[in-house]
Symmetry: D2
Subunit: 384 residues, 4 copies
């Protein structure tokens, strides 16, 4: 595929929770105009898609986005020009989960958590979603607090039960995270753990790479390349971080790293239509406005993708095989140093979009409208 | 001073907020029996002191511990056998502080923050507290968001105003922290920054070392040694961490590090009565019960202190000067590998305390009492 | 098995290279009396075993320990009371390996590296060694320098060729390392990569955990527990580190971590006779004397093992299942806080050894002897 | 100053040791054509200047660059179009320095080290150099090995003796480094330590920021901004790193960070002619050819500088004061995303240089010439 073809077909999924309030343990700062229910989150996501043209689906978080009728929610999304996407299970925001969910030493709590996961598959059936994304806050804070091994056994049991329940076109996407909220041992702390579990589950179990979930010094693009080689990469949760799981706008902290990751996606065939990689944002907008934060993030992924596509792979490979260290590196840097904004502006114009999505949003009046209309109510979500 | 003399005179201050609920951005798990007001926090702190004998004061956090009459609060503490200690200012839990407090680009918000700091000195006047502890959540999340330098200017201005307001026996203790809740740049990120500001302020401005606030790989005992040499170490906030500012029980993650820190305190004269070092806990008990969590932490500091005092400094120095690497290290390890629990049990018995504070607490009935009595109400605090 | 039984049967392998000079890129400091050939390294290792009683084998590094006749070397070891152990291949100290060994873009270099690996199996046949330990310095320093994926293909090819060559009782042990000497991407950077390759190779391919080879914040005991559960843990390379691959004496930087690792070994059955876990030191003694450095390290592993064996697992499990966070942690800490040195001194006395191995070495006159005798010659090894 | 004016006056000093062989503790790979003496290093540096036009001086490392007659060396440099610059003292490559140089417990070794530092000032007198750069490999590997505090006292004493010896126009530049080659405690581990010592020394003692010498997660541009505000920033040692002190080509690992650092230099007035900031490369070219590695690095600094100069500070400040997080960040990102290579090519053309320095070097024949001519001899330097 050509650069333009890939860019035209690229799809970036938005997380419904990015539109709600979020924060740190120190404070959740309230913003005016945030959605009061899942329908309003979808309206905001649709607005991002209208401005960017490449964000036609929105991921849900259950129970934050629980509604009485998911068919109706899907219809509302469709009316607004987008679709419902990945279903994210949440088994961490209940007092019962103090010592974990599916890894909890108490079988009653494990059963409750598993029931929620199975309920999420019901939601998928209703929404037509392909992917169930599982991230577990499970882990321990103190050495000895629980058996590391017993928790793995419990985890494996729950994953198998969920995998068995999936329909033939549905996938289980297992996410890993180094630390937080567990501080001593996390039950799925790294890609190796997620990979090993997915391997036992079967073909439709894949690993999700969240770009903020690694130890300092980890080479994320290596993991991406390795998982693509093993056909076990299922999805990205994009965001960026300077230190921990900061959940900043993707590309804000290390745009060169984002480019390198997307270059490995390209080199590993991950942009091919049948590769089945879900590209999703997973971010918090704690202090900046949320919809423009999403638009900017979508643009950052697009720009990094464009640069990755500009790499002259033939010349690169020749230099690599010749052992030309500086020459090979220069091929990659040439693409990275290119200003791809004009190219993307042209592409948008071709598709009938405004060349500058941020300006388009500012001109849309949406920001003022939601501040005026969305009075009262509370929103459920991240950090709420 | 002998080992026993130091251990007998050691004082560890408790943080009022350790008795309230706390958590991560993902969830604050509620515990039964948590205090509903500052008086109940003081009752819990007094219980810790009754069991350990070395925790006779409690630090307040304003406005979490705001009361109408601080003289009355101090009297209540005295009745329960303890005192009010350090006053901690809180300028991060208000929507106004989204972009910072004393470093905020908006002069109105800066004024509001400064007024709160000055109000805290009023509280100190009422409680008779010596120390004002300042930790600022100020910083930025994105490159360019604000001027790093202008924020330093604003910080310096606020610190000077507060320092001017202090009475002659009062001290300003400036705390640093690498990251969180600011993710890109924190306005007082390291000891060097705190030290430089304190140097300009004057004699009664000192640095607080929070053991969880450093980058990975930082040698904390070096900082302690250096600040003692410069006479600029004012206080410790003890806790422990595996990765970030985990706020686990001190000594839980790396007991050898705690020992090394306390050894440098000893070697730098920090246990001398006139050294003026405040030893304080600053922790969260997210999943474990709070009062036993505090008792265990006090014991961990005591045990590490005892080991530090057992180091044979004369032999150590001789080995160091002889360039005997293994010999010098062995002197330190010998002390660390000693089981000091019998020594501390004896010391408690001598002072009329139960030898095992944890057992003493379990036997006290306090845990059952507070669960039964403290029904209704809400508590203000950390993560609340 | 009882505590004493395990301690009596514990075996810790010594690395021949620990007895030679070593250093950093800045300087290799020469020490008097270092071995001039493999036979003298074996003599030093035998001395460590005479003092400790639990270090009856020595690992070789080829070509550093290349000799004309390995049968003769094995006989010399046997005469001195020890055995030859693991064979470590070295494919990083030749100008040809500038861009890697088995992952090099140049097929000629790959062939040369593979030939060396196969030659190491020949050595194993001669020495009767069970394990071939493979650590590759392969990787890249700059983005784009070489194809991450092609290097994995080359690695897999070489590993398969070596695995095919092994005799039925021989094992391939694959070691991972985060960084150094490659700075951008390492070809086997983490346990997940090593595990995935071993899985494809077969039953007798196992992972080696070097305690110094992880990113900051990594929970090593989790990896140990996970690999034991997967039956893929083959060996340990013990050492310790404050920041990077510092290669300090094991237990010197974080004795609590070493204890936790050995506790997971115990809980996962890794001390069982048929578990097949090789416990080995892999250290540098850059500034301290080498033989005492090894003795001290052996003792550190013994002490941490003894503490791990003292953990009351029944009480621990009960507390874990009851969700008693502090209780479970206390069981672990009680064992850790115990002074096990008297227990180990008794055990040595029982076995006819001096109770204090360091004093025994000092009294042996070996140190003075080697300084006097080993004049001239050069030693091959680490950093040499 | 305008963008072009700053770029035209920018000066980047080259390190003589970058032209010699270098490596890791695992291997120093030899390259053909490396200099055999300081004169040949200067010839290589001059070549870099001929291609880039902004690298007119070369820093020396004593004793690596020891010559009989420094006036003659300076004349040779002048003949080749460049100057001798900063003098770097080396007190780490002698067996005497096993336990440190100026911090060594042995007064004889301290004296030897100090004598070398004073000798370096003699060299400065001969070469006309302004700056003495001091980096100490001093530190300890094991807790207890030496007194942290006594080592600070010894350090302070040596620094004072050197500072006293300086001529009125000469400066002492103190460099800090987190770890390596010392692994437990480094005697000047962070900017705070260097700053505190410089403060006591006086006006002409300044701090050097080496971009590779920080703990993970450290915000380097904050340090740069802070030191500029304190008028204590003296120099940069540019290089880049993914994990530790990797010493890769500056800008290779995180070009966005390099840009942010240079933006703070600009905002703090560090490009002003009288700011006195020395911009220097300090790198190793372990696997890539050395002269092109230096050229590429010079270009990377130029490009990042150009981007930093393109930031619209007026708009930025307005957005910052308005609390417009996304707007302010966008101003910075707009400059960063600009392709400045055409601008720099024009600037070179204007100055009579080839627009592409890498191509100019390839065309110069220098590479072939040195390989042919420089046969035999050994070079002294990094890792040698």
């Amino acid at each position: 595929m050509t650069v333009s073809e890939v860019l035209r077909t690229q799809r970036i999924e938005l997380p419904s929770w990015a539109f709600g309030n979020s924060g740190t343990r120190f404070k959740v700062f309230a913003q005016a105009g945030v959605p009061r229910d899942p329908y309003e989150k979808i309206a905001d996501a649709a607005q991002v898609h209208r401005c960017t043209g490449v964000a036609p689906s929105v991921a849900l978080h259950i129970p934050w986005d629980k509604v009485a009728d998911y068919t109706d929610l899907a219809a509302a999304a469709k009316d607004d020009g987008i679709e419902l996407g990945t279903i994210n299970a949440n088994v961490f925001q209940d007092d019962d989960y103090r010592l974990g969910s599916v890894c909890n030493p108490d079988p009653r709590v494990r059963r409750k958590a598993l029931d929620h996961l199975l309920e999420c598959v019901d939601v998928m059936d209703a929404t037509g979603s392909r992917d169930l994304k599982l991230w577990f806050a499970d882990g321990t804070n103190y050495p000895g607090q629980d058996s590391i091994r017993a928790r793995q056994d419990r985890l494996a049991e729950a994953l198998h039960a969920v995998y068995e329940r999936l329909g033939g076109h549905q996938r289980l996407i297992l996410e890993y995270k180094l630390f937080e909220p567990a501080f001593y041992a996390t039950d799925v702390p790294d890609w190796g753990t997620a990979y090993a579990h997915c391997l036992r589950l079967g073909e439709r179990a894949k690993v999700c790479v969240d770009t903020g979930h690694h130890a300092p010094g980890t080479n994320i693009e290596f993991i991406v390349s390795f998982l693509l080689r093993e056909r076990k990469l299922g999805a990205f949760d994009f965001n960026s971080r300077f230190y921990a799981d900061d959940d900043l706008m993707v590309g804000a902290a290390d745009p060169f790293q984002l480019f390198r990751i997307l270059l490995e996606v390209r080199l590993g065939g991950g942009f091919e239509p049948d590769a089945g990689i879900a590209f999703m944002l997973d971010q918090c907008h704690n202090i900046e406005p949320k919809i423009p934060g999403q638009i900017r993030s979508v643009m950052n992924v697009q720009e990094a993708t464009a640069k990755a596509l500009l790499v002259d792979v033939e010349t690169l490979t020749a230099a690599q095989l010749a052992g030309d260290v500086l020459g090979a590196n220069a091929v990659v840097m040439d693409a990275y140093n290119t200003d791809v904004r004009p190219l993307l502006a042209d592409l948008r114009a071709e598709q009938g979009l405004a060349p500058d999505p941020m300006a388009a949003y500012a001109a849309s009046g949406h920001a003022e409208r939601i501040v005026a209309e969305r009075i009262g109510g509370t929103q459920a979500g991240w950090g709420a």
